[in-house]
């Protein structure tokens, strides 16, 4: 069984630029999560999808972050414009009513 796929693995941008991350969950997993992991901290949930609907986005900075999950499968997380404090690893996870399976993450550096 293929795991959660994420791309790119690394991204370096200047502040005020835009960036997008892609996630492909495990086939058949209805729930998809995006986490932000700042260096030295544990992951923090940004948004949770159930199929293509948003379950919880209370911790998503909506003035600059957006996410979508078209057709209830792949998901894209976008930051526009990026700030220095957005430097972090962005993790995607999926589940089917139980254990969450994580992707390898995207390391974002904002200069």
């Amino acid at each position: 069984e293929a795991g959660v796929a994420q791309s790119p693995r690394y991204k370096i941008i200047e502040k005020r630029q835009s960036v997008a991350f892609w996630c492909n969950p495990i086939s058949g997993h209805a729930t998809l999560y995006w986490y932000q992991q700042i260096l030295g901290q544990g992951p923090k949930l940004l948004i949770q999808f159930q199929n293509n609907g948003v379950v919880d986005d209370s911790q998503l900075p909506k003035d600059r972050f957006s996410a979508e999950r078209l057709k209830g499968v792949d998901s894209t997380l976008k930051i526009q414009p990026a700030k220095l404090e957005d430097s972090a690893v962005y993790l995607c996870a999926s589940s089917h009513g139980g254990e969450q399976f994580f992707g390898p993450g995207t390391r974002l550096t904002v200069l």
């Binding site: 544990g42 949770q48 919880d56 690893v89 254990e99 969450q100």
Partner: protein
């Protein structure tokens, strides 16, 4: 609000020895799960062990076991016969019902080094 606290930023253990990582949590929920995740330098979060709050028996997975003290809200991880491959960041996490669906709250992590 749910909180998870790991008070040991770093720990080290000699190969083949035993080490215990500490975790405390706080929640008003009665139905929840607790987890230990391992995150090696590759950044992939890997589930090590899980514990259902309603179960009194401590979970075990091969060399990994937990000491779950529900009244004290304590959930420590014991790694026996430590191996070089155990070196990683370890995160304690709680899964509580929120907004109608279970969500993970993580601690800040403990960096485990294994000394040959």
């Amino acid at each position: 609000a749910q909180t998870v606290t790991q008070s040991q930023p770093e720990m080290s253990v000699q190969e083949a020895e035993t080490v215990t990582l500490s975790c405390t949590y706080d929640t008003s929920e009665s139905d929840y799960y607790l987890f230990w995740y391992k995150q090696p330098p590759s950044r992939q979060m890997i589930l090590v062990i899980r514990q259902e709050a309603y179960k009194q028996q401590n979970a075990t997975e091969n060399r990994f076991s937990v000491n779950f003290q529900k009244a004290a809200k304590s959930f420590s991880l014991k790694i026996s016969d430590s191996q070089l491959g155990d070196a990683a960041m370890y995160f304690c996490a709680g899964e509580y019902s929120g907004a109608g669906s279970y969500q993970l709250t993580f601690g800040k992590g403990t960096k485990l080094s294994v000394i040959p």
